[in-house]
Amino acid sequence: MTHPSTSPSALARVLSHPRLIAWILGVSLILAWLASLPARTAFGGILNHSKASTALVQGFDVGTFAELLSSPEIPQEALFAASGAQLLVWFIFLLFITGGVYATYGTQNRLTTGEFFHACGGAFWRLVRLTLTSLLPFALVGGIFALLVKWSNGLEASPNERTSDYALWAGLAFAGLLMTFVRAWFDLAQAKAVLRGERGIFKLALRTFRRVTLRLYVTYVALVGLRLGLTVALLALWMRLAPESTGKVFLLMQLIVLVNITTRLWQRAAAVRAVEGMA
């Protein structure tokens, strides 16, 4: 069986559908803006007519912000509830469009809007079941990570202060690699469910476990590294921006979100290429 190089061709598929990226970014932005409305209203009621607000514009004074948050006029629970609701809606949105994303990358032809949403709806419940199934291995990885944290805490007794910290970081990295494998595994299963119409979700998941190739896994790991690296680089750039340049900060932050969305889509496209390469 030939294994075509998945990375560049997968990227090509992602970049050939820029509207999909823009659409996902747009929905993310709108949902986040809606989630921020209660905070804007609450903060605005206190800050908009107060000279004390300058401490948050020219720089960011942590003391001022802490005082703002602890003000009785700020309904903290409501603010976080709004963000929580946004996360839930986003989660359902992503689940819904995943079928359409795989269908888009899995066809040579450009899908119409109706075909896109047809693919979304057609695969939705299978993808829900696959997501629920994936919680098991993710929970297992979480458990392994918890054990690693406990182990690293036990190393606190070592005279070398760094031992425990190094162990924790190594554990984090190991857990990250395991999570990436689980992600690649279930992306592959999702792609098969959508592109090949496969059902019997639990058996699909078990069968797909052995089909995760080294090439695909390495692609996923590399993309995680790229995502982290670019995010860190952009954050370093953020630290150089003047504190009052809110517009530039907004654009930079959206660039970070764009990097995250694009690399995630790239991973999915790589899974599609892997399915195409299967017998």
Partner: protein, 646 residues
Amino acid sequence: MTRWSVCLFRPLALLAGAMLPLLAGSPPLSDRVVAYRIEGTYDPKAHTVTALETLTYVNKTGQALDRFPFHLYLNGFQPKATWIKEAHRDGSRDFGGNSGWDAKKTGSQEIQSFEVEGMGDLKGQLQFIRPDDGNPDDRTVVEVKLPKPVAPGASITFKIGFKATFPEVIARTGYKRDFLMAGQWFPKVGVFWKGQWNCHQFHASTEFFADYGTYDVKLTLPASYHFGSTGVVTSEKVNGDGTKTVTARAEDVHDFAWTADPRYVVTEDDVLLPSGKKHIRVLMQAGRAPSTARYLQALKGTMQKFEEWYGPYPYPQITVVDPPHGADGAGGMEYPMLITCGTSWKMPKGAMLPELVTEHEFGHQYWYGMVGTNEFEDAWLDEGLNSYSEVKVLDALYGRTTGVLNFPFATAGGRSLQRLSYSGVADFDPMTRNGWQYATGNAYGGTTYGKTATVLLTLEHLIGEAKVQEALRVYFMRFRFKHPTEEDFMATVNEVAGQNLDWFWNQAVKGTARLDYRVRKVNVERADWYAASGADAGKGAVSYRSEAMVHRKGDFVYPVTLVATFDNGEVVKESWDGQDRWRRWEWVRPAKLVSVEINPDQAILLDLNRFNDSYVVKADTRATSKLGTYWMTISQWASQLLAWLV
């Protein structure tokens, strides 16, 4: 300084210490009530010190004394002791409220023999007393009744054999692996103060109180251990059996603490102050070299400022101890001539924690060390004055808004954090409350540290920064090596200020009133608002009627200055005594009101809500927009993390 220089400076430090007796010709700095001689052996495997303490007490009370109470602080670390009871109830930085009891946290001080010169063995006369809460299981104060009293002016010598068992680090003392911080490790006599013995039980939120005197301590410990202590090491003799005996002497101090750890990396340095050259010893954990420089820089800067502002540091040396990881409970503590700090190998430059803790703990050399206030009853006099000094020194050395956090994306200064700590507990307890009687540990911390600092910073607004500094200087010089009271402090400030500030002290120090003035309403309209658009309206220059109302929301009465700014650049200042519940001002002029402010530069730091101290007519949404953008961004990032599950 590099490690090789330890070889050069160590002998010099010993020489300096050895010369101390020669310098004894200089007059004592304090009324030396006590002279402790302690000779003991440290067993690092059992975490114990077995020692003989010879205490000579000079009765300068003017009364005959027939009983003497002693603190046995280490007994506080037992499950039923008052300290643990209170920590379990309120939580403490060292002991979580819901933690089970860990036997390693047990400490004890056992008196094995108790003789009094001329009176014989009085061990049978020892009785535990509980003057504060009557807890029958608390053994942190023991009292001896003498068969015959000590006459005024006479002295008495106690010979006390004791064994101190250290807990794993808790509340500033204890061991962790091979490290030991030995604080409150010997039986310590109480203070005869205000006509009676003052010897409180050990409480979770209180510290200590003792008389000034001299300490001569001789300790035998493993030869591989580095040793640091209050005072100066005068000799170090290797015994040939794997141990060494270290002798240290301290004069005109009210406590003696020491530390030992084979892993210390020792750095010796000096600082030249107006009062002369002082030696610095830093006992650092390996792998934290960058923080050594930070400690030294902060310490030297702080010492310079304290001498410049308050008075001389008279001792020859200061030792800085860096506790190891896992022993954070031993960090951030002061003893005469020895301070413990705190850092980690990954402490970023912009997190000024090493600097802050070094500054704060050195500051205690003045407020507590030399001005020996009662930390049980008047905790604000040391913690609060020191927190105020901390803000001033950090401002001077590292910037007013960057003294605590200094990152490109976030900053924080000392004064806003002091205020924040107080604002959450503003109406709980007065500053004058006894340290163990606060509502919660947070109330104790927020009031003694944060509120006191905030009160003194607000005092700058009342009488001027220079006057406050002068008052503290006078207070220090007048009461160093003494035990002043709250009234002494407030009277000194009144004297220096040249005015009676009792109206301020009664509210700020002795009361719990909240200070909150707010700009409640601002209105701007044409003065001829009643005129229809026609003949009467708009003829000639337009006149505007501007109005502002200030409301005293809290119960604290404080004079207020309102600053009104108009769009023609005019600035008007109006004064108000702040007595009534509200006050309205009105201006009619050919200019519109742009803003009003009642707390310019946030000088009235006690005002609990800085956001309502001003009103800008034209909304400035930049801060809201910025916070909203970050809120959105964090929501989006959280969404991207969630995308990993789909």
